[in-house]
Amino acid sequence: MTPEKIHDALNAAHPGAVLAFDPNPKLPSIKVAPSAWKAAAKTLRDACGLDYLVCLTSVDRGAELEAIYTLETMGETRAPIHVRVLVPRENPVIPTVEDVWRTADWHEREAWDLMGIVFEGHHNLVRILCAEDWEGHPLRKDYKSPDTYHGIKNNVT
């Protein structure tokens, strides 16, 4: 399906879910409201044939945190479509899609670990890269490295 058709199908199935659409042929993207994301994800997989979640990444946009889902159809060579979900920094909660695409499981844990986005409904949302007792989310722009970790100084002189 072309990005335009995907956008139309999504709009028809979930009115109000699509907040913005960029048909750029190299990097088509759809901005989806967080509240409607779970249902929209199922439509994208089942009705639009986007059965492969290539990557889930996140961006710190200052007042908002953004999760970006890269979706493809297995076997097709068209440019992947990106779904952007933006949530406020104070309350960054996005419904999980690990039961829609299994790839999302570890990727969501990584986005939680490094960016602090909470994926509501994830069965095991714990840190995946940093140590279990790490504090803070290192890829946020306002992150400060700890001075010591387990008694080992982290300073550089």
Partner: protein, 181 residues
């Protein structure tokens, strides 16, 4: 070693002819020790690739008596910390070091283990030098150090072994210190 061995010929007809050598215990023990330095199989990041090259046929660390990379710390003399030590990995590195029997030696291979390397400024997760965790005998700088540099590091460790005394179990003066700030 060669100069300090004395051959004794008591009697040309004796059955022990050409068969008695005299040396000091220190020299004998140090010679055996430095001729079979067994490193631990233990690579943390990109530097380990260079360590593997050093162990393979082209650079052939076996020539210098340090071939057998052991799969357990309990059989190893030398810990080559080859790669980035993250804060998450640090307790494991310490544990492996503690499991090695004395006398043990540590080589910090690469900029990462020497001081934090490329991660020195923004690497929130990287230990800024493995000498904050375990005492280091020899530092081999480079990112990554070439196999020749690693071999040079091994020679410096062997030089260190040459100076040891058997009766000095504490290795006074030769044991490296932990970095204290």
């Amino acid at each position: 070693m060669a100069e300090s061995i004395q051959e004794i010929n008591l009697n040309n007809d004796s059955p022990t002819r050409d068969n008695i050598l005299i040396t000091s215990v220190d020299q004998l023990v140090n010679w055996t020790r430095r001729s079979s330095v067994w490193p631990m199989t233990f690579g943390l990041a990109c530097c380990a690739i260079e360590m593997m090259a050093t162990g393979a046929s082209h650079y052939d660390i076996d020539r210098f008596g340090s071939g057998p990379f052991r799969a357990t710390p309990r059989q190893a003399d030398l810990m080559i910390v080859a790669g980035t030590v993250s804060h998450k990995m640090a307790p494991r590195v310490k544990r492996l070091y503690d499991q090695m029997p004395e006398p043990k030696y540590v080589m910090a291979m690469g900029a990462c283990t020497v001081c934090g390397g490329p991660y020195i400024k923004h690497g929130y997760h990287v230990l800024k030098g493995v000498d904050r965790l375990i005492p280091v005998d020899v530092y081999v700088p480079g990112c990554p150090p070439r196999p020749e540099a690693l071999l040079e590091g091994l020679f410096r460790i062997q030089d260190k072994m040459k100076r040891e005394r058997v009766l000095d179990r504490e290795r006074k003066g030769l044991r490296p210190k932990l970095l204290v700030e």
